[in-house]
């Protein structure tokens, strides 16, 4: 039995970054709460990821490894996750605020007779509760909440928590979970991969983003060129995505991807709260906008007040020269 169970995710590189971040948070919280940190992995071909769990902070790993679990499906993952929670009996269950987490967490919490707090930004212990700070009202407000029932199910925003430095001297006990053949009501029949070149938005250290102020879809190729120079990912505001200028998979914002890069270059983006909910966690924002009163300047560390068309070529060459 652990005090905190992290329901993790894996990709081609093993444990995903949000999984490592949750293990970091769970380690910090369990020091106050008492008890161990367990990781649940549900998927197929999990051996390497399970072996990485100990160094990343887990005391034990539940591994539900089956071909039928190769991709996330509500009906196949929910009974497995439920079984692990019931076996482990944690007081807190953490999931990432990801495509999987936002689908699985509310169903899991309800099945357990409890409730879920979604997309937490900050986690603190208060007695036997985890106090979560989260964004609400479209990013305009924050609330501090607790789940009053057990287990406390909480999803965690990627990059909001610090991972541990991997400690290879640590290892976790691996507990193999039996997986029954799932009964699928909803069945995933295929996937369309978004055409993303270069760096993934959620992993990027630098993001170059454009908004409606770009005036048309053509300008995104200029942004892509600048992103190439900076090894950055390209993002877009919802307005620009809704206009069909850039694929929805690249949308940064409340209803898109939430990014927290070291450097966020907001080009011709006004800074609506919808958008800031997706990039407000960036360490540094640089805004380029011809409107000196644009709200984005209220969030930016550095700003250039000018038409992006005039300054972008100069910025691209300046970065190219500086990074050469």
């Amino acid at each position: 039995m652990s005090s905190i169970l992290v329901i993790g995710e894996t990709d081609d590189n093993g444990l995903t970054a949000p999984t490592r971040e949750m293990l970091g948070a769970a380690t910090r919280l369990s020091a106050e709460l008492g008890g161990d940190v367990a990781l649940a992995l549900i998927g197929s071909g999990l051996a390497d990821a399970a072996a990485a769990a100990g160094p990343a902070g887990a005391d034990s790993v539940y591994s539900a490894d089956a071909d039928s679990l190769a991709t996330y499906q509500t009906d196949s993952y929910l009974p497995v996750a439920l079984g692990i929670v019931e076996q482990d009996g944690p007081s807190v269950v953490l999931l990432a605020q990801s495509s999987m987490g936002r689908d699985l967490a509310p169903r899991l919490a309800t099945r357990l007779g409890s409730a879920a707090i979604m997309d937490s930004l900050g986690l603190e212990i208060d007695g036997d509760r985890v106090k979560a700070t989260r964004s609400c009202y479209g990013g305009n407000a924050r609330q501090v909440v607790t789940v009053q029932t057990d287990p406390q199910v909480i999803t965690v925003r990627p990059k909001s928590q610090a991972p541990l430095v991997a400690d290879d001297s640590r290892s976790a006990e691996i507990i193999s979970v039996d997986v029954a053949e799932p009964t699928l009501r909803a069945r995933t029949t295929g996937k369309e991969q978004a055409e993303t070149e270069g760096v993934r938005l959620e992993d990027a250290e630098i993001v170059v983003s454009g908004g409606r102020g770009l005036g048309g879809p053509e300008a995104f190729s200029d942004l892509e060129r600048l992103a190439g120079v900076l090894s950055a990912a390209v993002g877009s505001s919802r307005a620009a995505c809704d206009l069909g200028w850039y694929p929805p998979s690249q949308q940064v914002g409340l209803t898109g991807t939430v990014v927290s890069p070291t450097l966020y270059l907001a080009i011709a983006i006004s800074g609506a709260s919808q958008h800031m909910a997706g990039c407000g966690g960036s360490k540094n924002i640089v805004a380029i906008n011809k409107d000196p009163d644009a709200p984005i300047f209220g969030f930016a560390r550095f700003g250039i007040v000018d038409d992006y068309k005039k300054v972008l070529p100069a910025i691209e060459s300046a970065f190219a020269a500086a990074l050469d």
């Binding site: 689908d103 309800t110 609400c136 209803t255 930016a300 550095f302 700003g303 970065f319």
Partner: protein
């Protein structure tokens, strides 16, 4: 089909559709950009981090819709007039067989301790310059000095 929005504009939790699906023991698909009917089953396109998933599910089921679904239609005057004649069914907790202790703040399993407006402590530094090159150079210099680059 029970169709929900992906999240409400107040708490942004995005959980009601899934909770209802679970309480009614129905299959669900969330954050959808398209729904297609084919005979007895439904095919939907779900927005995920790196693209879209096609999911087939039977009825009855619960679906939540994302903004990628498209724009709402805007009613014409005649439709607005007609809407006034549509019957609005009002339900109380008692109509649904629920006790007052099970609904609202009294029945909530999540308790709110505070609600506030975050303040930005960032003071923007505007990079000045007479030419685009000066501004670009100024930005690089500022990023270097702040050890961001």
């Amino acid at each position: 089909m029970l169709i929900f929005g992906r999240q409400a504009a107040d708490w942004d939790q995005g959980t009601v559709g899934s909770i209802v699906a679970e309480l009614l023991d129905l299959p669900s698909a969330t954050v959808l950009r398209a729904i297609e009917l084919n005979g007895d089953s439904i095919t939907v396109s779900r927005v995920v981090a790196d693209g879209f998933e096609n999911i087939e599910l039977p009825t009855p089921c619960v679906l939540t819709i994302s903004n990628e679904f498209g724009d709402p239609r805007y009613p014409q005057l005649r439709q607005i007039m007609l809407a006034a004649r549509k019957q609005v069914i009002e339900l109380t907790a008692a109509d649904l067989g629920l006790d007052a202790s099970e609904v609202g703040a009294a029945g909530a399993r999540v308790q709110m301790h505070s609600l506030y407006q975050p303040t930005s402590d960032v003071e923007v530094e505007i990079i000045e310059g007479d030419t685009p090159e000066e501004k670009a150079g100024g930005l690089i210099k500022a990023l270097r000095e702040a050890k961001i680059l």
